[in-house]
Amino acid sequence: MDRQKVTLRFTLISALIGFMIAVQFQTVTEPKVRDTRDIWQLREALLKEKEMQYQLLTEIRSYEEKLSAYESKRKQSKEQALKDTYLELKQETGLTEVKGPGVTLEIEPVIEDIKLGYTPTSTVPPELLKRLVNELNMYQAESISIDGQRIINTTVIRDINTETKIDGHTIKDLPIEIKVIVKDFATAEKLYNRMNVSKAKDEFFTESLRLSVTKPSTEITVPAYENPIRIRYMESVKEGGGS
């Protein structure tokens, strides 16, 4: 047996043991300075800490008061009112993402109708979509998106070179999803029932498309309108009203 090798092994192992002992020793003797205060000294210390706590609490209270004063001032200011109005208008025009109760409609090609050598329609006639949107609006729809495109007041749905376009977005891949958000869940249920018995289904079917309505859900997300809104025939009113 190689004596040197054995010694090396023993040395390594004993170094490891030494390391472990040192770590253990340090862990056990964690508090280096022993607390030797008697009960009166402890009470004094406690009293000091309590005073400190009281002081801090009063400070916190004063800061909170200041904060609430500033907050109320800010709320009453003109700037906040303007901001609120701006946000409201933005929501109304459809420039923000909307979440709420509503239903999801799906348009898909009728698979049973597919014949050999005949490609199923991959687009939806714009007239149908327009009628559908009108119908949805009739039943108190608040926000609508078709295939991820938000429908706003100036949205156009039209046929350009046999492609159905919604504000420049082409509808190509069926099935597509139409998300509709309404005011509350009861309205959503009403909308669901009405859409189930509406004529729109038959109209879609004549174009070899199936319109299916999913059960109303409490949380549906309609994306924001992405393109910039062009205003051509509107001008801001000048101060003083001397138009």
Binding site: V6, F10, I13
Partner: protein, 120 residues
């Protein structure tokens, strides 16, 4: 054979200098690991003196004993029984036995050496 002692001291110094502290919950495991390591070390020394030392047995025994002891302690913590006491007992007994054997061997060696010296 002074090198292992130097190693031990070096290990202690290193451990004190690095200031590593393990959480209180795990100090049990470390203590039992230290015990297991000691047991293996003395077992190795004894085997070396009896000329039955095997490097594989020594090194594997070192790690295996530590792991076994720690897992026994772990099991004990989870069963609510102080199972680590079993490991402490076993290692303690073996430690005493090993040290006793080492002492006897060294004594015999010493006395034979003395006799040889007296004869010559």
């Amino acid at each position: 054979m002074w090198l292992p002692v130097v190693g031990l001291i070096a290990g202690i110094v290193l451990g004190l200098l690095t200031e590593i502290r393990i959480p209180d919950e795990y100090s049990n495991y470390l203590s039992i690991a230290v015990l297991a390591a000691f047991d293996t070390l003395f077992g190795g020394i004894r085997a070396y003196l009896q000329n039955i030392y095997d490097e594989k047995v020594f090194v594997s025994g070192f790690f295996f004993n530590i792991i076994l002891a720690a897992s026994l302690a772990f099991l004990g913590v989870h069963l609510g029984v102080d199972l680590y006491l079993a490991a402490v007992f076993a290692f303690g007994v073996r430690l005493f036995q090993n040290i006793a054997v080492i002492r006897r061997i060294l004594l015999t060696k010493w006395s034979t050496n003395k006799e040889k010296l007296e004869k010559s």
